[in-house]
Amino acid sequence: MHLPVYLGLLDSGEQALADSFDLVAEGHGDEPDVRQLCRTLAAQCRERVAALRPVLDRYGEKPAAEPERLHAEALPAARTGAVGLLRDLQDLVLLATLVDSSWTVVCQAAQGLRDRELLAVVCQAQPQVSNQLAWLTTRIKSAAPQALLAAA
């Protein structure tokens, strides 16, 4: 059964997303909304990690067996400036999309397993992740013209 591999992937993906939100919050601290919301969203990711813990304990993680290519890497460092912010937000979209898609995969497996506990965790998590993506998209849309056309 490969579910534990995917649960591990989800776990590490959420951690990477949380760390990346924190990194962007820190690196773009002069953008107060980015700072504040990225911190809030990082906390959400960590809550999802915590909610996943009992399920992970039940199925057991198999980190050693994970194919290396499935790993999500957190952002290494925040960029600077208006275009840098745009690129960092795009990187967050990529990570959040992977997380989102991983929840979808796990959701499907949970239905096949009739695992109500896991389904409850998924139902909590999925709308939250979609919302994180929606915020990132909203912020990117408003920032893009100024960054690409007018930034010094």
Binding site: D30, E31, P32, D33, R35, Q36, L37, R39, T40, L41, A43, G81, A82, N131, Q132, A134, W135, T137, T138, K141, S142, P145, Q146, L149, A150, A151, A152
Partner: protein
């Protein structure tokens, strides 16, 4: 003649619920003026958001006084201290700006209009050619007239095509608009001031009406002292005059409004005090609201909010069992953490009981300024004209047709840029021209050290239009001397949608001109034209601008098509005023139909936690179709929490004797004497703990700066300190920091983008002992 300084609310005229608020004519004339020689010119007061009808007294070409209009639906003849003393005296102040100023060699020197406008047009043209329209920003006011806002909106949105337009309404009323849009689909005040006449209970949320709208408080006081007193519930961390008059005072801990409101909503639902039929037929989102607030039992939030659980339950019970309830909301919610979400919960309470659109059953999401409604409806701020939806292509097409321009010229790829982001772009150097009209950001925005640096940066070309050389004007590259209220004609709309016509009473001094003239002149010099080569701004006077706006408003919720200057000469009319409502509409949504339908709504809404925009496709799928939306969000802790280093929470706000940054009120001797200097209010418990006495000078420090102020000891909730936000630097020789916004941080609500003025963590340090007497000015706040 009453002394409206000592007696802020004036003589009581008690009345019964459902009765007519008795008239009381307030008037004040300059010493020695013979009333028989005076000519009276109709207007309405612009020194708070109430919009009291008044006549300006004119003698020998000067304003010499004012009187309330007894037939005006807003005030029935009354005027508050600012209206009586502040409205007209600044006009003849010797330090009025009377000639344009131009910065040369680092100094502002006198010039003429031609030279000043040449310079503006040359810089603007060069930037447009080199950098495009995104290099231009406009920051206007809640103090100009409708005609000026609409003209500015057309210039910016159809002429230049910049999304960077906002008003200082962002600081005062953005959350009002945001909460109305989220709940009802569109801006537009559901209630009416006459709801005070009918209400059996009045809930005031973060609304110190006794100081912010003194005449509205007079109306409430007259009900309180009448034979069938309405219950009063006050949510405010300070022991304001409202709190003292209240049957129930919930002194909420700053930053926890949403938790408290979630609890009240939860208790209302748990006690089954809701109108199930109304909820089913006229709302959407009940299940999500119920589930979101499920964990907010009164016992769960009592400690967090610092309010006893029994009082939370009492509030919910009072709301749920009283016949007619009026709710009002202002800055205590709007300028605090999770502003829009908390304000939406007030709308939810009314929706859950189906209490909208009937006498006494209103919501007043208050405005902070007299003409803020017009900034919003005309699109001179972060909105599109006529409450149109930037994400609705059909709405953009309507504007493009009206203005005869290419729809792509109208920036609608995102919501228009909010004020704090405009200043951020200016700080980063991507906005290079900033035109500031009728507002004073160098005193009124958060973190003033930063704002001064932005405005003072020589890479930013700053145009300031004002009546006085404000702290902001001192940093400008071009200063335009503006005509003020009473020196120009125009209309404006108050909190309860009453449209007043304010006539020109006297000529402006020297070369001063209206902002309308300045905007029209700019459009002419920039040669802004429509698709067929006709001038984009096809008017040059107020009545022409009003006629253009009337067309723009046609068919929208803020429909002015039934209004004209001729009509408004007889007194105010509430919008919408059209064929369907020829005399205006007193209350909105009495039929339970809301402007949420596609094609009608001003917005598709946001996630209240993050501000993530709902897409048109998502909105369509929700099938709101004319129902109101019950919006919900979880409380999350904010960034503003106190620390060991900064253990107290600062709130800032208005007081009875001043308005904004005192550009007018400090030039009225009565008002200036009443409150000449700023102060800091400290709770009795904190004063004891810190060994502070009244009159002591303390240093108040936050992460962004410090101010040194005399102490006033009050009954505020322990841990909360208060500083009035009015005071800047133009009338002090001292270089010591004293403006409240030296201490506030750059942060805002994710939905309304309204800055957090009520959430700075600070510490107090004793600097010098005083004479143990309270500094003047806060008396109204403590109910003396």
């Amino acid at each position: 003649m009453d002394d409206r300084i000592a007696d802020v609310w004036g003589r009581r005229t008690p009345y019964r619920g459902g009765g007519h608020w008795p008239v009381r004519e307030d008037s004040h004339l300059a010493d020695g003026v013979d009333p028989r020689r005076v000519q009276w010119v109709p207007s309405a007061c612009v020194l708070c958001s109430n919009g009291c009808g008044c006549d300006i007294a004119v003698l020998d070409g000067r304003m010499v006084g004012v009187r309330g209009r007894v037939r005006d639906r807003v005030n029935h003849g009354r005027l508050g201290p600012k209206g009586l003393y502040g409205s007209w005296q600044a006009q003849s102040s010797p330090d009025r700006l009377t000639v344009p100023l131009l910065r040369q060699g680092g100094r502002l020197v006198e010039t003429d209009w031609d030279t000043a406008m040449d310079r503006i047009a040359a810089v603007s043209r060069a930037l447009l050619d080199d950098k495009g329209p995104l290099s231009h920003g406009f920051y206007t006011s809640g103090q100009l007239f409708l005609e000026e806002y609409y003209t500015l909106a057309v210039i910016g949105k159809a002429g230049l095509g910049t999304p960077h337009m906002d008003g200082n309404t962002r600081l005062c009323t953005a959350t009002s608009a945001a909460a109305l849009k989220e709940s009802f689909g569109c801006d537009g005040q559901p209630g009416s001031y006459t709801d005070v006449d009918h209400a059996d209970a009045i809930f005031l949320y973060g609304h110190n009406v006794a100081e912010t709208q003194t005449v509205l408080w007079s109306r409430i006081l007259d009900r309180i002292e009448g034979p069938d007193r309405p219950r009063i519930v006050c949510v405010d961390p300070r022991r304001t005059a409202v709190a003292q008059a209240a049957d129930l005072h919930l002194p909420v801990r700053p930053g926890t409004n949403l938790a408290l409101l979630n609890a009240i909503v939860h208790e209302l639902i748990a006690a089954d005090l809701i109108d199930h039929d109304y909820v089913r037929d006229h709302t959407s989102g009940f299940a999500q609201l119920r589930d979101t607030v499920a964990s907010y039992g009164a016992d769960n939030v009592a400690e967090l909010c610092g309010v006893p659980a029994d009082d939370i339950r009492r509030a919910a019970h009072l709301f749920g069992t009283t016949g007619r309830v009026l709710s009002t909301v202002l800055q205590g919610f709007y300028q605090s953490h999770q502003a829009t979400a908390a304000s939406c919960q007030v709308n939810n309470l009314h929706l859950l009981r189906g209490m909208l659109g009937r006498p006494g059953c209103g919501v007043l999401q208050m405005n902070g300024q007299p003409t803020a409604e017009n900034t919003r409806e005309c699109g001179a701020d972060g909105d599109l004209p006529g409450f149109r939806n930037w994400a609705d292509e059909e709405h953009i097409a309507q504007l493009a047709k009206l203005w005869n321009v290419d729809p792509l010229v109208i920036p609608h790829w995102s919501p228009p840029t909010h004020a704090m982001q405009i200043f951020r772009y200016a700080e980063q150097g991507s906005i290079r021209l900033l035109w500031i009209s009728g507002t004073n950001p160098a005193v009124s925005l958060p973190d003033l050290a930063r704002i001064r640096a932005v405005l003072g940066d020589e890479k930013l070309f700053v145009i300031v239009s004002d009546c006085f050389l404000t702290e902001t004007a001192q940093l400008a590259d071009v200063v335009l001397p503006a005509a003020m209220w009473g020196e120009k004609t125009g209309t404006f709309t108050n909190t309860d949608r009453s449209v007043h016509l304010s006539l020109k009473a006297v000529d402006p001094p020297g070369q001063a001109r209206s902002d309308l003239d300045a905007f029209c002149e700019y459009a002419r010099r920039m040669d802004l034209r429509d698709r067929d080569g006709a001038p984009l701004i096809g008017w040059s006077d107020p009545e022409g601008a009003f006629a253009a706006w009337r067309e723009c408003s046609r068919g929208r919720p803020c429909d002015y098509t039934g209004l004209s200057y001729q009509r408004l000469r007889h007194g105010p009319v509430q919008w919408p005023c059209n064929d369907e409502h020829p005399d205006g509409q007193e209350r909105l949504y009495g039929d339970g139909v809301f402007p949420t339908a596609l094609g009608r709504c001003e917005e598709f809404g946001h996630d209240l936690l993050t501000g993530a925009a709902v897409t048109p496709e998502q909105y369509r799928a929700l099938r709101i179709d004319g129902r109101a939306r019950l919006r919900a969000a979880d409380y999350v802790p904010g960034e503003h929490t106190t620390t060991e280093e900064h253990p107290l929470l600062l709130t800032t706000g208005r007081t009875a004797y001043h308005f904004h940054t005192r550009t007018k009120t400090a030039r009225a001797p009565e008002l200036n004497r009443a409150a000449p200097r700023p102060w800091v209010e400290v709770s009795a418990a904190d004063a004891r703990r810190l060994d502070l006495r009244e009159g002591d000078t303390v240093r108040v420090e936050s992460a962004t700066g410090h101010v040194d102020l005399p102490v006033r000891v009050t009954d505020a909730r322990p841990g909360t300190v208060f500083i009035p936000f009015h005071y800047g630097y133009w009338d002090t020789d001292s270089t010591e920091p004293r403006a409240a916004n030296e201490l506030t941080a750059t942060a805002w609500d994710p939905v309304s983008k309204q800055p957090h003025f009520k959430l700075a963590a600070v510490r107090l340090t004793l600097l010098a002992r005083g004479d143990q007497s309270a500094p003047p000015g806060g008396d109204a706040a403590i109910g003396v």
